[in-house]
Each structure stands twice: as structure tokens, then as C-alpha cells.
Amino acid sequence: MTLMRKITYREAVREALKEALERDERVFLMGEDVGRYGGAYACSKGLLQEFGEQRIRDTPLSESGFVGAGIGAALGGMRPVIEIMTVNFSLLALDQIVNNAATLRHMSGGQLSVPIVIRMATGAGRQLAAQHSHSLECWFAHIPGIKVLAPATVADARGMLWTAILDPDPVVIFEHATLYNEEGEVGAEGDLGVDIECAAVRRAGRDATIITYGGSLKKSLAATEQLASDGIDCEVIDLRALRPLDDKAIMASVVKTHRAVIVDEGWRSGSLSAEISARIMEQALYDLDAPVARVCSAEVPIPYPRHLEIAATPQPEAIVGAVRGVMRK
């Protein structure tokens, strides 16, 4: 019987960083405001005091610069955890990530490895308007050479970091900005590391499969409550890893329920939901009793006013509607 305790997502991230810094002296944290400020989302509060300036490094306001420096450190044998404040700012570092981190192993014929972990906040829901509300996980999931993770639960936020650090290749971790205050259960002791390859069935069901990740998981689960009271029993798959995708778990569920609804906070055009839908069509077409449905953000820059931001992003009501649609009920 494992003892469990309840902590916030933020506390889980901080604990994971602390554990990594304690376990391996090659690990260090770098990013804007991670040291003196304690992290833009308070994920590294107190770590500077505990581990010192060499291990907790405040960087200049230059994503391209400090991500490049992190890549350099990794090439030199270190295990940097690079915090990019949000995915919105990672655009400035895309060249470093896509053209250096992702390619150096390949281009060096295996001689070079870049064992970096990049952590970023992502998503909408805090009225930060068009330039600061992107969900661009799908762009990163598109790139061979990196792994992409989306911990949606407190246990995953706690457990994925160490496994990612051990990985000899770049791993990008997306933390949805609305999750930091969420509470969840985590083991009280022992090794809390989790795998970074498999999807998880968060709710087992018979009638339809909801496939989602990150900040959309709790909205999907909320939708299943309402659907259950109408007699529709949904299975919910939390992808956890966005690259590589766990095809096996996805197809096993769709073959069972014959109906799939993908909830993805990105815009539908060229999205992760489009990729998953294509794979379902390829691998489970003859099991489908309805076209795959997708619940995505509206094809507009994310609005600032609260009611418009809500209207533009996936919500439980839309998920309920999509499930009813594939059930034809």
C-alpha cells in the first residue's frame, strides 16, 4: 500500500527539479527569472538559495542566445534544464532547437548528443491575449530528433523530469499554464519516476474514446461526467507523450469503442489532432462507426476578453457535443 500525498502541480515541478539537482551534479537550471525571482510561475522558488548561482542561472532576455548556450553546455557534458518562460517565446529559439538540438546527433553520425531538457509553459486561459496564449506543441511534435512531453497530472509533472534528464537526446516538456495550481496525488516516498512513452487511460469506457493531452484533460474528464448522466460512457486517453505518439494505446481504445473525439487546444489546421486522426484512419478505419471528431481552438488569434477567450478555446460543452455527434445521439 503506497502512501500518497496531495501537492500542487507547481510544487511537483519544483520537487522534481530539486531531486534532479540533488541526484546529478551535471544538472543545472537556466532561464529567465528562474533564480532571484524564483521562476515566472514560481517553480524554482528557493532553489537559488539552496543550490547556488552555478546551478540556478538567470539568463539574459534572449531565447536564441541562452537555448544555444544550453545546447553548448550539453555538448560539453552537462545536463541543463532550460526553462523558456512560455512556448510563445520559444519561437525565438526555434532555430537552435530545430537546427541544432534536433539535428546534431544525426549530422555528426552519432558522435554528438544533446541531452537537454527544455521546459515551457503553454496554452491559453489566463487572458494573456494573442501573442501569449499559443498552443504550439504540434510544431515541436513535428520534428524528428526530439521528444515532446505534456504532463497533464501532478504525478506526471513530478515523475517525467528525471526520466527526461536521463534521456541522451533533447526532450521538450510542455506545462499548461492553467495546471500549476491544480492539486493532485503523488507518492509519499520512493522512486517517483515515470515513463515518457506511453499514453494513459484516465477513464475506461465503452461508447466513445476521447483523446487529449495537457490542459484539455480536465475539461475532457468534466465532459465525461455530463455524458455519463446521459448514459454515454466515454474512455479518456491522456497522450502524455506527443512525440512519439502511443499509437498502440490509441488504436486499442478506438477498436473497442468505434468512435474517436480528439481534444486539442491548438488550431485544427495542421494540428496534432489532424495527425492523430490520420493515424486512426490508417490503422483503424474499418473499426470506425463515425468520422473522427476534433475539438480545437477557433481559427482566430486567441482573444483577450475572458468570454471570448473561453469561446475560442475547447470547453466541456463542445466536447460533449462532439461525443454526441459521433454517437449520433
Binding site: 468505434h258 478505419l285 474499418y286 470506425l288 462507426d289 463515425a290 449520433r328 445521439k329
Partner: protein, 387 residues
């Protein structure tokens, strides 16, 4: 206006699948009329209504699984005006309201809803299922949105009148469940007697030689007649035990155990057997067996039995110790009629004999009462011309 609810069809049945509506809204109904047919583990069962009236609205679709107690239709009184019908909580009514590929009913200028200008949209899963089931997709009625999906194909599963529609594995499960329950809940006691039935058989042979072939009786008939009459004197062996109480039955609804080819067993009841003479009993038995073989029984036959008669038949075994079928409280079992040495007034003779066993529910009766039944049963069989 009343809601007609799915009746219970036996101790081990919880739900049935609706396969046919025999009456339609607007039809006059008399008590006992068959309103619908459902398919169960025991085959197709005809559901009878309990009231006179007019069928108002159908609440359940063909292909739906209906648990006992679910409202499946509404029936209004003969003189009730056609008011707004009660709607059940199931989303069955919805498909009639939405018709996205056809014209809305208000616009009379558009083509009538039946006209389908789009080709049938069949989902891949439905196509595959139709192939598995041997369902002709062209004949499947599309569902919501003009789509033929898994639900539509499942609903179109062939249930032909010739095929009994009985899944033997499911029947085995139903029998297993009922017998396990019987063994678990009912404290059985057994009393048996071997009876000299020579007089009975002589009488029967004489009777049958006088009758043309179609009018002949099989020997189970006088046995059932005698049993029904004897049961009137021992009411503790005839009725239902439920929720800690025994309810003696005013009538003898005699369940008859009928073996089915392929290994199933079913015991539908001949209602009010105690008032039927032997010719009537024979006719009812013949009809019952035919409908068992054809897989077409009535709900009342399966739920209203008050006792069961199990005749092993010829060339089987000498005696049988059967299990009571809950919620009944007794079962009468007869072995084969066989010649045996018999003591008669000090001399050993050969007689045709029959061993009859009675199993009783010890919560309701005891061996003495069962023995009294057997004595009476025997006496009746010694005077077959009076049966």
C-alpha cells in the same frame, strides 16, 4: 393513460431485446393480446398486455435491449381522447424529430421525407458487421442523419420465423443461473414412490385403439391430469415463494419440462391445467411443444407456472430427482415406464411400473404432505377411466 412495462419472464431473466411490434399505435387491444415479441436466452417470447385499451405510443425501438420494468408503450383507455402521449426518458423519440438530410415537415413544397436523394452512408464498422451477420445493407434502414451505423446493422439482424432464435450457450447460462439459484436458495426434500401403472396403461391402450391417430393421447397426459387433480388437495406444493412468503396459487399452472434438440431445456406452463380434461390437455401439450420447437412462447407461459412436471420419457432412466424452478415450491418427476417384478397378494408378478418423485421446498411443505400427494396421485391413476 397507462405505461405498459416490460413484464418479468422468469426467475433468471433481466432483460430482453425487442424484435417485433405486433400492434401499432391506434390498434385496439384486449387483455391477453400479443403486443410485441422479444428475444431472450430462451427464444422468442410473445408479450401479452394485461389491459383492454388502445395502443397509444411505442416507446421502445426494435433492436433495443429492454430491462424488466421499463415502459415500452403507452395504452390509453377506449374513451380517452388522443392527448399528448407520455414520453419515456429514453432518447428514442429523438430520431423522429431530426432529419438533416430530408425536408423539415412544415415545408410542404419540398419532397416528402421518404425520398432519399443521397446514397446511403454506411460506416466502415457497420459494413464489416453486416458482413459478419449476413445482413443485406440495402435493406437496412438508416438512422440519424441518414447514416447506417453499427446500431442500424445490429437492429437488422435476421430473426426469421423458422429459426428458433435460441442461442444455446445463452440458454445454458440461463438454465445454470436458475438451477444454481434453486440449489442455493431452496432447501429441497425428496419423496418418491414406485407405482403400478398397468391399469393405467391398459386403459390408455384401449382408449387409443378406439381413437384415430390424431386424437390419441400420449401417456404423459393422464399423469399430468392426475398430478393436477392431486395438487388441488395439497396446495403447499403449488404456488410461489417470494420474499419470505409463500403464496398458494388458486390455479394449477403446470409447467411442462420440454427438452429441446441441441440440449436446451425449458418449462413453459399450461395455464389452469386442473380444469382441462385429457383431450384438452393433449392439445395444449401438443401446441406447447410445437411452439417450444419453433421458439415462440408467451410471456405468461414462462412467468406464471405454479409447479413443474418433468417426464423423462421412454428409454431413459427409472427415476429422476429434479430441481425446483424458483419461485415455485415443488416439482414432480417421472421416470420411464418399465416392466418390473411386483408383489401382489403374496405372488410375484410382472407389472408395468413408474417411479415418481416429488421435490418440495422445505420452507413450505414437508415429506408428509408430499407423500399424501403421491398417495392421492396413485389412487387417481388406479382409476384412469375417472380421470
Amino acid at each position: 393513460m397507462i405505461e405498459f412495462r416490460m413484464p418479468s419472464l422468469g426467475a433468471d431473466m433481466e432483460a430482453a431485446t425487442l424484435v417485433e411490434w405486433v400492434k401499432k399505435p391506434g390498434d385496439r387491444l384486449k387483455r391477453g393480446d400479443v403486443i410485441a415479441v422479444v428475444e431472450t436466452q430462451k427464444g422468442a417470447i410473445e408479450i401479452e398486455v394485461f389491459n383492454d385499451g388502445v395502443l397509444d405510443e411505442i416507446l421502445t425501438n426494435i433492436g433495443e435491449k429492454v430491462p424488466v420494468g421499463r415502459a415500452i408503450a403507452t395504452i390509453r383507455g377506449m374513451d380517452e381522447a388522443l392527448g399528448p402521449a407520455l414520453r419515456a426518458a429514453v432518447p428514442v423519440a429523438a430520431p423522429e424529430k431530426i432529419a438533416p438530410v430530408t425536408a423539415p415537415p412544415e415545408e410542404a413544397a419540398r419532397p416528402p421525407p421518404e425520398t432519399r436523394v443521397v446514397q446511403a452512408q454506411i460506416t466502415p464498422a457497420a459494413r464489416r458487421r453486416a458482413q459478419e451477420l449476413g445482413v443485406d445493407l440495402a435493406a437496412v434502414k438508416p438512422g440519424l442523419g441518414g447514416v447506417v451505423g453499427l446500431d442500424q446493422v445490429e437492429a437488422a439482424r435476421p430473426v426469421t420465423k423458422e429459426r428458433p432464435g435460441i442461442l444455446f450457450d445463452e440458454m445454458r447460462n440461463a438454465i445454470a443461473a436458475a438451477m444454481a439459484r434453486s440449489h442455493r436458495e431452496i432447501p429441497h426434500y425428496y419423496v418418491a414412490s414406485t407405482i403400478d401403472v398397468s391399469r393405467l396403461m391398459d386403459w390408455l391402450e384401449a382408449e387409443n385403439s378406439r381413437r384415430s391417430v390424431p386424437a390419441r393421447l400420449i401417456c404423459a397426459v393422464p399423469l399430468m391430469r392426475a398430478a393436477a387433480l392431486a395438487l388441488k388437495e395439497t396446495p403447499e406444493l403449488n404456488g410461489h415463494y417470494e420474499e419470505g412468503r409463500f403464496e398458494p396459487a388458486g390455479r394449477v399452472n403446470m409447467g411442462v419440462a420440454v427438452a429441446m434438440r441441441g440440449g436446451g431445456l425449458i418449462a413453459p406452463a399450461i395455464l389452469e391445467a386442473e380444469i382441462l380434461d385429457m383431450d384438452e390437455l393433449m392439445e395444449r401439450l401438443r401446441d406447447l411443444v410445437a411452439r417450444v420447437r419453433g421458439g415462440r412462447l408467451r410471456s405468461s407461459e414462462l412467468s406464471q407456472g405454479t409447479v413443474t412436471f418433468s417426464n423423462l420419457g421412454e428409454e431413459t432412466a427409472d427415476s429422476v430427482l429434479p430441481l425446483i424452478y424458483p419461485p415455485q415450491v415443488a416439482i414432480i418427476g417421472c421416470g420411464q415406464i418399465a416392466e418390473r417384478p411386483w408383489a401382489d397378494h403374496g405372488a410375484v408378478v410382472v407389472r408395468r411400473t413408474l417411479t415418481v418423485s416429488v421435490a418440495g421446498d422445505h420452507r413450505v411443505s414437508d415429506g408428509r404432505r408430499a407423500a399424501q400427494f403421491l398417495t392421492h396421485f396413485q389412487q387417481l391413476l388406479h382409476n384412469p377411466e375417472k380421470l
